[in-house]
Amino acid sequence: MALLEVRDLKVVFQRRGEQPFTAVDEISFDVEPGQTVGLVGESGCGKSVTSLAIMRLLAKRGNKVSGSVSFEGTDLLTLPDKEMRDRRGRDLGMVFQDPLSSLNPVIPIGLQITEVLERHRDMPRKKAAIEAVELLDKVGIPDPSRRLSEYPHQLSGGMRQRALIAIALACRPRLLIADEPTTALDVTIQAQILALLRELVQDTGTALIMITHDLGVVAGLCDEVNVLYGGRIVERAQRHQLFAEPRHPYTHGLLASIPRLDAGRGEKLVPIKGSVADNIPWAGGCAFAPRCPNALEVCRESSPQLVPDNGGLLRCHNPVRPAVAAGGGAR
């Protein structure tokens, strides 16, 4: 049994007087201990909502969450609120996109770490402070004991994200959800943070769900990749498989749109045409069909199912043939 089994997770936004909107549509995936699973897709495809639904951080009002999220056999979605609060931070940790706004601006970093240690590991304040220094050291923050009394605005962006990771890891959660942890950082810091995450996963056997729109991040970190489109998984593959042979036209488009160093001078980038706004509902066809270069009649008439394909899963009537995709973007 996997550490985390997400089954048919569905999130519907319901607002009074408005059409319900299905943000996440029956997503299922597993995460094993020590494994890194990527959720990839463009803005609005349901990545973040999936992670918030797993953590039960979506507001109860206006959001209908169904399906099951079983963590070591317990369904998190049906757990009483109090038990869920006990598990957050202890069993499941989360790292957010913007490290500055995710840290409390009026409390020193140290207190934000010891707060979690006191809460979940019943440590006295002094012992927690010693542990906090070790944690900051572990995530590569220089001079950690001095940092304890510093405020978030006194740290650099990279250090803030390190501190955030230290806080999330304080109670050694078995699952870490990283929601675009590198998006707000510049490229050099991005690489450091990714290396840090990779190392932590290897050292501690923590399972990691990596949410990103950056295929470079996927290439560097994930074991298995789920490509999301319009709230559904459209393709799942092992990392190398995905980059070598993208099967879904959307995945293929994403890979093709990456600027390449070996491209000829003056060669134009290849974007995916249209935007998410062009989507048609999954119920009547393939949501991607209006933007898809491979679209057939059938794509607008029947909704494709997620079927096993080439060792992974694929939801497409007319997938990209391997020959076409050859060399389509290993980075």
């Binding site: 609060r85 957050r88 409390n104 590569g140 006194q154 650099s156």
Partner: protein, 311 residues
């Protein structure tokens, strides 16, 4: 930790830290205030006023209650002696030294202003805090009550509350004036608490399983206090004016021996404005200057705390 990585990262982070290191939020605000002439003017007036109030018994040249020149005053014939050696501002209709009464009156003004504001802040923060923390029907209930309070013009509200008490005293004035502040503070705190509730760092704290009580008290409340502090400084000014207004209208402490600016102004205006108009000017100017001092201080504090103005 990967040693190669460590070597690469350290100088970068150290450099970044050096430029970012410096001042806490409060220190930063203070530094900015010291550069602003408005803040300095407001601060100097406020400090002088507070010192005057604290050391009033020492600074007053004469006893404020003794009727030194009672036999020289004849209200029937409209005679009040003006300024003379020993009585630089003259005397009132009981022959008491006006300057000493003005100085001692600062005490009363400070006491009423500070206490009324304090009560307003505390009660308003409890109401607003509960509304912002719980939301739902608690929020709706509290905010409707607050809306009703806000619907009254401030002075009318204070007059009504002051008039409710059979025996007016300085405490009824304080209570009446504090009620003006309550809905303002409640609304302000609720607003910023609601903004905090949907903020990233509260979401992050929730994702760490931090208890709800700590989320409210440690994460939401301290981040919501800025506007409340600024409003409190501004409310000090209005409290002083409102309290003086109540006394002026005869809804304050009826004891005529008590030196109080509003009462002194009221007496001067009602009883002997034609004879000695300057006796009305002095307390009026005192009230205006002190209120101005607190307002300038409050305004510059708001500017200093506003992150948009950060340089």
């Amino acid at each position: 930790m990967n040693t190669l990585l460590n070597k690469k990262k350290e100088p970068i982070d150290k450099l970044a830290a050096a430029s970012a290191r410096g001042h806490s939020l409060g220190g930063e605000a203070l530094r900015r205030m010291l550069r602003s002439p408005v803040a300095i003017t407001g601060g100097v007036i406020t400090i002088l006023f507070v010192l005057l109030a604290i050391f009033a018994p020492l600074l007053a040249p004469k006893d404020p209650l003794t009727r030194y020149l009672q036999d020289k005053v004849n209200m029937g014939r409209g005679i009040i002696p003006g300024a003379m050696p020993g009585y630089p501002l003259g005397v009132d209709d009981f022959g008491r030294d006006f300057l000493s009464r003005l100085i001692v009156g600062a005490q009363q003004t400070l006491l009423v202003g500070v206490l009324a504001t304090l009560i307003g802040v505390v009660v308003g923060m409890i109401l607003g805090g509960l509304a912002g923390a719980f939301g739902g029907w608690v929020d709706t209930l509290i905010m409707r009550v607050v809306d009703v309070m806000l619907a009254f013009p401030s002075l009318l509200l204070a007059v009504s509350i002051a008039a409710l008490f059979a025996k007016p005293s300085q405490w009824t004035v304080i209570l009446a004036v504090s009620m003006i502040g309550v809905p303002i503070f409640a609304r302000l705190l609720r607003g910023s608490m609601l903004a905090q509730r949907s903020s990233d760092h509260v979401l992050a704290a929730t994702s760490l399983g931090v208890k709800r009580r700590s989320i409210v008290l440690r994460h939401m409340l301290p981040n919501s206090l800025g506007p409340v502090i600024v409003q409190a400084t501004l409310t000090l000014a209005t409290s002083i004016i409102e309290a003086a207004a109540l006394s002026f209208l005869g809804l304050g402490d009826p004891d005529p021996s008590r030196a109080e600016w509003g009462l002194m102004l009221g007496n001067a205006a009602h009883k002997f404005l034609e004879i000695r108009p300057e006796l009305a000017y002095y307390p009026a100017i005192a009230i205006i200057v002190v209120a101005l001092g607190f307002t300038l201080l409050g305004e510059s504090l708001r500017e200093a705390l506003d992150p948009k103005n950060r340089r």
